[in-house]
Symmetry: C2
Subunit: 377 residues, 2 copies
Amino acid sequence: MEFFEILKTDNNSRARLGKITTCRNTIFTPVFMPVGTKATVKAVLNEQLAEMGCEIILSNLYHLYLSPGIKIIKKAGGIHNFSNWKKAVLTDSGGFQVFSLSGIRKVIDNGVEFKSVIDGSTHFFTPEKVIEMQIEMGSDIMMVLDECSIFNAPDNLIAEAAERTLKWAKLSIAEYNKYGDNKNSKLFGIIQGGFNKDLRKYCAETVSELGFGGIAIGGLSVGENRNLTVEMMDHTVNYVDKSKPLYVMGLGDPAGILEAINCGVDMFDCVLPTRISRNGSAFTQTGRININNAKFSDDFSPIDDCCNCYTCRNYSRAYIKHLHKNKEILSSILLSIHNLYFLFDLVGKCRNAISNNNFNNFKNNFLKNYNNVRPNP
Amino acid sequence: MEFFEILKTDNNSRARLGKITTCRNTIFTPVFMPVGTKATVKAVLNEQLAEMGCEIILSNLYHLYLSPGIKIIKKAGGIHNFSNWKKAVLTDSGGFQVFSLSGIRKVIDNGVEFKSVIDGSTHFFTPEKVIEMQIEMGSDIMMVLDECSIFNAPDNLIAEAAERTLKWAKLSIAEYNKYGDNKNSKLFGIIQGGFNKDLRKYCAETVSELGFGGIAIGGLSVGENRNLTVEMMDHTVNYVDKSKPLYVMGLGDPAGILEAINCGVDMFDCVLPTRISRNGSAFTQTGRININNAKFSDDFSPIDDCCNCYTCRNYSRAYIKHLHKNKEILSSILLSIHNLYFLFDLVGKCRNAISNNNFNNFKNNFLKNYNNVRPNP
């Protein structure tokens, strides 16, 4: 069975319908992957995710390495056993976290040294070690160690980071190949290069040649405006191996998802739907609302009239506003279920639209209704 | 249909099996009632409660009066519609909260004045107003306004509070009767009297004569040791109308539940199972554990080997410890499900034991295993 198969390409856009086959399940693409950084998608049960049609969640090597430690997860029989999630898991290497969250870190050519945010202890990640630990966790899709530049970094630093990421990509694939066929995990390479088109092209072509199972675009959605994100995605896609699943990292608002699919992207993830839930925000067909708004106090309609999620079938805006105002955990639970369902439903509708050659139309209609989109949520 | 029916009395104890019939459902007693102070049992979905066999939850007039306000709940069509809970709701009047939580309050003979903990505004509860608001909320079982003395209050204050509670009980039943048969709510009287046996006897007899739908014992589990709680329960039960359901307020640890049932108590409630969940504690057949204990880091067994709850069927101690350490909401969800199930299961086993005239035996065996019981949790 092929790992990735393209089933259909839209006639009027680069959007495509595909199928990823892991040893656990079949994942139709485009697919939205919720983020379970610490082996839990915040405030949601795995059963609730599965009921919503979720086939793959993200987890994060960096966070799990720091707590509970890879040894514990290995002893549990891998991350699926540890967290009781039966479907696929994609693990991020934590490159992004090392470079953005760790207060003190030092990049040297063969890896990155960082201090634990938990106890200040010093740790060292190499491309090879990151592969080894992800295999130990039983990850279905692993990411290489990469160096993600901050938005507005000087050109020379962006170029250095991109070059180092390519060097690490080569070390990663060599390490990965050492495991031979005794592994169920696929390894994805990552394209960096900031907002420099030449650099993006160079990285896309180089990564495409290395024989990864899939290709990711990193370093976008890091603070730039939405038009620039789309421009860079659109540009980069030109130079990737299109037979591989293409993943844009850290993108997950409704409008961004539609733009990514339009560029030919197959996979995306974001903490957005669960994070905004904890702040009382919710996606609706007509844009994002915040449940704290006074007008919802006696609004007994569901969060979104068109939504068929558990929350919208059973609970009102007034009740959820009451819960959120009173800091009740149930408000995070109900809003997380709604916001995740909203994205699964949206991406499911995109897949339908692609198979009917109707993606452009669907996208334009959705965006017209979703009128209070923020430029860069 | 009778509101309360005694189906069986244990041959060797005062424990009894009964049945409460509301307009919504049938509730077999003894029954544990989880607390949903603000119209939500913390961290648990109503569906999860119903799956566990929960037939009745508590809510609190005082808290709901302050937020979102009774007007909103009435506009929603009552508390069941507002919170999407289809089964029975018992509402506490909030007497206990007014007397223990409100910073500034002033008791006068016809009611109690208090300041909102939310905005400092002044409010006034009378026995009559408390009935009116509970009827507006659509409560199935309402509690009278009472004055609960603090533990170790001087004798004269306890006597005054008990006398005032009796006076209010009479005003409450008169107000309740004004609604005639146009109500589905039953009203329960409350016995106060601190730890004075003569006073408890007097209050029990007086409340029993007033024609309430049920009788509650208040003012216990307020800081005294467990032996004293049991002694006062046991004493008070002698003087109540035994044809009515008997409810001990605020009691909900496993050992306390068994003692209460042994005295002939039919109903009890406590925040304990959900509160300890948020602190990482869990009931087991062999006593309470705290999941933060280092030895659980690589313990892949369930919280309680004997438990058949959703959490124990699917998740390990090691995983829940990891979640709790990382302040993940899922740890509160999973532990709340377990701890509530544990009590529902325990009380269900008590009902079985009563029908088999085996309650004493069951109680003694359970307490022998549950060896690290705290004197007064």
